[in-house]
């Protein structure tokens, strides 16, 4: 029994095992409380789809050796900007969504490339610097959102006639275009097949890329930079590639998130978003040095189910205070903290 426990811990790591146990307890509690179980699962699936691409964006950066991408907000901002542009062009429906995605890619690629130039010069301190760079850029962009010359009355403040709004509604634009695509009803549940397919396609592309020659070289340079350098791989170049792909996925990720959520959140909206994605992938069993697609899938499922199910269940157990939010903070940061203690110690 004990050896089996150790085996499981070794295979999946403490966070994943404990969260699975916690989740099972939550589900049992929910059943006892006669919560709307199909409804909870439906909400979970919607939220899994919503967050999936953002979590996937962590894979290339971790695999290429730049660590957890705390500066994912850079990609997110590029995505938001592209989304605003598509509304400004007065487009609607699926074409508007695709335009936003297509416009975001070059912007993310350029900013990811520039950012990787910096990150390649600060090896070993990437995570601390990324965090503050991400926050600094979010604040800088907050100024930009106020000043950018967008004209669409849907997006700018009604009073004053300039500056983008805090939240921009996508209703009538491309609200839920992916979620409603090929939407099937299964046991009275609306499953957002479109979003999940889109996520699956991106996962497949990343998986394919990892199998390619460049991808293999990127993995090698992330795994053991010195060895990679010795065997003739240009480590910096492959770190750049990882960062660029991560930033692009961040941009696409926020557009997917927004179409499901129904709003773009500007200004301080992207500030803490990287943290959510990071803790999801870490919960899936990734570390600051190793990550795979399966980590993304299991991580996003676990984390989002935890958030969705804990809200009504725990609030019913303890109506006072906001315990489920407190649990989110503790789990989210506890997981990151655990991963950091595993990285360090090497002095």
């Amino acid at each position: 029994m004990k050896s089996m426990w150790n085996k499981i811990i070794n295979k999946y790591g403490y966070p994943k095992v404990y969260i699975v146990i916690f989740l099972v307890i939550l589900i049992i509690t929910a059943i006892i409380q006669r919560q709307d179980i199909p409804g909870l699962f439906r909400d979970s699936i919607v939220r899994i789809g919503m967050n999936s691409v953002l979590v996937l964006a962590m894979v290339p950066s971790i695999a290429s050796g730049t660590g957890l991408n705390f500066a994912l907000s850079i990609g997110i901002i590029c995505g938001l900007l592209a989304g605003c542009i598509s509304i400004e062009l007065n487009m609607t429906g699926f074409s508007a969504f695709m335009t936003a995605v297509v416009v975001s890619i070059p912007m993310s690629a350029v900013s990811g490339y520039l950012y990787s130039k910096l990150i390649n010069k600060v090896k070993g301190d990437e995570m601390t610097i990324s965090t503050y760079m991400g926050w600094a850029i979010v604040s800088l962009m907050s100024i930009a959102w106020l000043l950018l010359p967008f004209k669409s009355p849907e997006m700018i403040w009604a009073i004053g006639g300039k500056g983008l709004r805090q939240t921009i509604s996508l209703a009538g634009r491309y609200d839920k275009v992916l979620d409603n695509f090929m939407n099937i009803k299964f046991m009275d549940m609306n499953i957002p097949i479109g979003t999940l397919l889109f996520f699956g396609a991106l996962c497949f592309l990343i998986w394919l890329f990892m199998k390619s020659k460049t991808g293999a070289a990127m993995l090698a340079s992330g795994d053991n930079p010195k060895f990679a350098e010795a065997s003739g791989i240009n480590v910096d170049k492959h770190r750049t590639i990882g960062m660029v792909i991560s930033t692009i996925l961040g941009g696409i990720g926020i557009i997917v998130y927004a179409q499901s959520y129904g709003f773009f959140q500007l200004y301080q909206g992207p500030l803490m978003m990287p943290f959510v994605a990071i803790s999801a992938i870490l919960l899936g069993g990734a570390s600051a040095k190793k990550a795979s697609i399966s980590n993304v899938i299991s991580g996003v499922i676990l984390f989002q189910m935890l958030l969705t199910i804990s809200l009504p269940t725990i609030n019913k157990l303890m109506p006072e205070g906001n315990l489920s939010e407190v649990i989110r903070i503790i789990v989210q940061n506890g997981v990151i903290l655990y991963a950091l203690t595993k990285v360090g110690g090497s002095d």
């Binding site: 600060v122 601390t128 610097i129 600094a136 943290f275 006072e320 903070i329 940061n333 110690g345 002095d347």
Partner: protein, 374 residues
């Protein structure tokens, strides 16, 4: 011959001035920004100075508490938040005991100490496990601790911890209210002796206490313990070889910082007069770190002078930026965003510079060892 010497001297002198300029580029830049901000804000100088004294009184002790971990080579202690929480626990305790005025303040400081010691040791333990990644760890640890803090104050108060005082407990009987009134200790230090110099009110006792803490830091740095800290800061490996108990000393350094942060937060709230139970501590770490960096400190070097200068500059920026933003761009919010950008940006920049420096030093070391091998 002599002219040559003179030339050389001159060159060195010039080089020196340039060097000083480069070394102090951050504070110089902020001097310029501050002056521009003061000019653009069109605020009255008297108002700015009064606000500045107020903010120095509130924040300086928190900023000073960053110095010792920096000297000990642990970088900037973003986990200052945790110390601030200990301070707030002291304040909640005196609110419950209903002890006001100076005795209340002293009691709060006393009650905060065991909490701060405990939290400091905990922080140190975690940071010892993550050598080389202290700053990101302390940041995340701060967030993690905020979660635990909410758990205790929002859910354990009134349930596990029997607190009944309706003045601070939510109507449901569980959890602390969002805002706890601290009027009964507000200005208790500041108002003991207030000097009025050209219309600027200076709370002398608070300033004296801060000066006392400056001397305390200087004293600690000069003792054997301080020497060990400095040795750690210079090179952890050499320190280890020299027989310094590395992990232990790091624990002590972070604990001193945490206790000072707890007292700093008490001083801060003593002046503000209201405890925002769930948000007073949130930004403490970031603002203190940004302030000391503006003063020219780096991840590996910080002095009392830099802390004071930085706090002055950073808070002038705080005072003037909403008005400056309004006057320049017609939007006060813009100034606030600029302020946030400055805080985050200065931290990011100095982290980058530190990483560059580390890299250059590693290169130099590698070259030296290669030269020795030859």
């Amino acid at each position: 011959m002599s002219t040559q010497m003179e030339l050389k001297n001159k060159k060195e002198k010039k080089f020196n001035i340039l060097n000083i300029l480069v070394q102090n580029s951050v504070p110089i830049m902020f001097f310029i920004i501050c002056f521009a901000g003061i000019y653009a804000s069109k605020l009255n100088m008297n108002y700015i100075l009064n606000e500045l004294v107020l903010r120095l009184d509130r924040n300086l002790l928190l900023v000073l508490s960053l110095i010792i971990p920096v000297i000990a080579g642990m970088g900037l202690n973003f986990a200052l938040v945790i110390g601030a929480m200990a301070g707030q626990m002291g304040l909640v305790a005196i609110k419950l005991l209903n002890v006001g005025g100076i005795p209340g303040l002293l009691l709060a400081m006393l009650i905060a100490v065991p909490f701060a010691l405990l939290f400091g040791l905990g922080t140190g333990k975690v940071l010892n496990k993550t050598k080389g990644q202290e700053m990101i760890t302390s940041l995340i640890l701060g967030y993690f601790a905020m979660g635990l803090y909410q758990l205790v104050f929002l859910l354990f108060m009134g349930t596990i911890i029997p607190v009944k005082n309706p003045e601070i407990i939510l109507p449901g009987g569980v959890g602390l209210k969002n805002a706890v009134d601290l009027k009964f200790i507000q200005y208790s230090l500041d108002n003991i002796w207030k000097l009025n110099i050209f219309g600027i009110k200076i709370p002398m006792v608070s300033i004296l206490i801060i000066v006392l803490f400056c001397y305390l830091i200087r004293f600690i740095v000069k003792t054997k313990l301080g020497q060990d800290f400095r040795a750690l800061g210079q090179d952890i490996h050499i320190a280890k070889v020299a027989g310094i108990h590395v992990d232990n000393k790091r624990l002590i350094a972070i604990t001193i910082s945490t206790v000072m942060a707890a007292w700093g937060q008490i001083m801060f709230l003593q002046n503000i007069g209201t405890l925002q139970t769930y948000s007073s501590h949130e930004q403490v770490g970031m603002f203190a770190v940004a302030a000391i960096l503006v003063g020219g400190a780096t991840v590996s070097k910080a002095t009392i002078g830099q802390a004071i200068l930085g706090t002055i500059l950073f808070h002038i920026l705080f005072i003037v930026s909403p008005n400056a933003g309004k006057n320049l761009f017609g939007d006060a919010q813009l100034g606030e965003f600029f302020r946030a950008f400055v805080a985050y940006g200065v931290i990011a920049m100095s982290l980058v510079l530190h990483a560059f420096q580390k890299r250059a030093m590693a290169k130099q070391k590698a070259e030296e060892s290669e030269a020795q091998m030859d």
